[in-house]
Amino acid sequence: MNKKKPVLAAAIGLMAAMAIGPAQSDPVDDKLVIDGELEMVTRTKAPEGSPFEEVLSGWLYRTEETRALEADSFQNPGMLYVERGEEIWNEVDGAAGKSCASCHGEAASSMKGVGAHYPKWNAAAGKPYNLELKINDCRTANMEAEPYKFDAADQKALVTYIKHQSIGMPMEIDLSAGDMQSWWERGKERYYLRMGQLNLACATCHENYNGHYIRADHLSQGNVNGFPTYRLKQANMVSLHNRFRGCIRDTRATPPKAFSDDLMALEVYVTWRGGGLSIETPAVRQ
């Protein structure tokens, strides 16, 4: 095989995609209805102050086959992790001899809507908490169990399960609580901050070039309503902070640590940007 070929192809591809004549391809005009029953909001009026008129779910940027996978809750491989999360919910762990269910009972009722409102201000910690941090807090304080390490299989499954209890509900966070507004501002700065050898900000791809192709990838608005999301590439669940880090790594920058203040601020900000979209967890993406 000619080793030079991919180099040229990639260079020409990118030039063509981003510099010479950006290939614009609109997101599809399609409705996401899970199992023919649950109608999802994949397009909605953007929150005031957003650079967009309309916020769009990443689902609209995917191919027909990938969209179909998410629309069928049986075919969606992410549902395997929802089932695993249900097992964890009921498993006793830690010195206190408790499971999640010991205190919270049936997740279908106690967790309904909960995941749709994270990240949330945590007064004790003096910072916003996402579900992962909240779960670890609960594990150490109430279950007397070890906190999950970032991206442990059980952490991803449990977060997926809890978030899934809010499927179809609008993602909406409360910026008036505590110091959320300043975290939002910090996240906004981070969103527009150019980084890495490629000198890209989040906004370069997901605001300025969404709808275009970067090589073969159809760039979305980068909304987070489907996380944790089943990615075909990994054939596994991918957490939001894993995706943040992957994206930043791809700009040739050193990614901040998962759940660091930088990424928590970014989570607050991008969650706000996609406000009103339905929680799709587990979404299916490329």
Partner: protein, 151 residues
């Protein structure tokens, strides 16, 4: 906003590096000859005909790691006249074998759907063997793309 010339150049260089690194240590690929041999082993040398079998796969796969694929073979599916097996192959994978489906009259219809891995853009081949020994084939090219940042 438009990318400046410098930004575009930096982007290209970065992507080129990634593509180069990725392209170097690839495994050997099966190729058409090995696929033909696998088909011969499956059919016992009977020449495949076209028709009756339909292979459905996306023209462009969003990710080669999970590519949906379906086969359907026209047949009355009776004890006397049915589809015995369908072999699925991928010419450009390190090994061409993907899966072999076995049907019976109780299948009612010779149809199957699964998800496969494709190492690169290539032909996917489906070969059906009927209860009377006749053989049918269908082929589809599936383009496998690389993510935007190589990530």
């Amino acid at each position: 906003m438009k990318l400046t010339r410098r930004e575009a150049l930096v982007l290209s260089a970065g992507a080129a590096l990634i593509a180069f690194a990725g392209g170097r240590a690839g495994p050997a690929f099966a190729g058409a000859a090995e696929t033909d041999q696998a088909i011969k082993d499956f059919t016992g040398g009977t020449e495949p005909q076209s028709g009756r079998i339909t292979l459905t796969a996306p023209e462009i796969a969003e990710n080669g790691n999970t590519v949906p694929v379906s086969v359907y073979v026209e047949s009355p599916m009776t004890a006397e006249d049915h589809v015995a097996s369908v072999m699925l192959l991928a010419e450009g994978n390190p090994n061409p074998d993907v899966a072999t489906f076995h049907f019976t009259p109780m299948s009612g219809e010779a149809t199957a759907t699964t998800r496969m891995r494709l190492a690169k853009t290539q032909n996917v081949v489906a070969v059906a063997k009927m209860s009377d020994g006749s053989v049918y084939v269908d082929r589809k090219e599936v383009k496998v793309t690389i993510g935007g940042c190589g990530g």
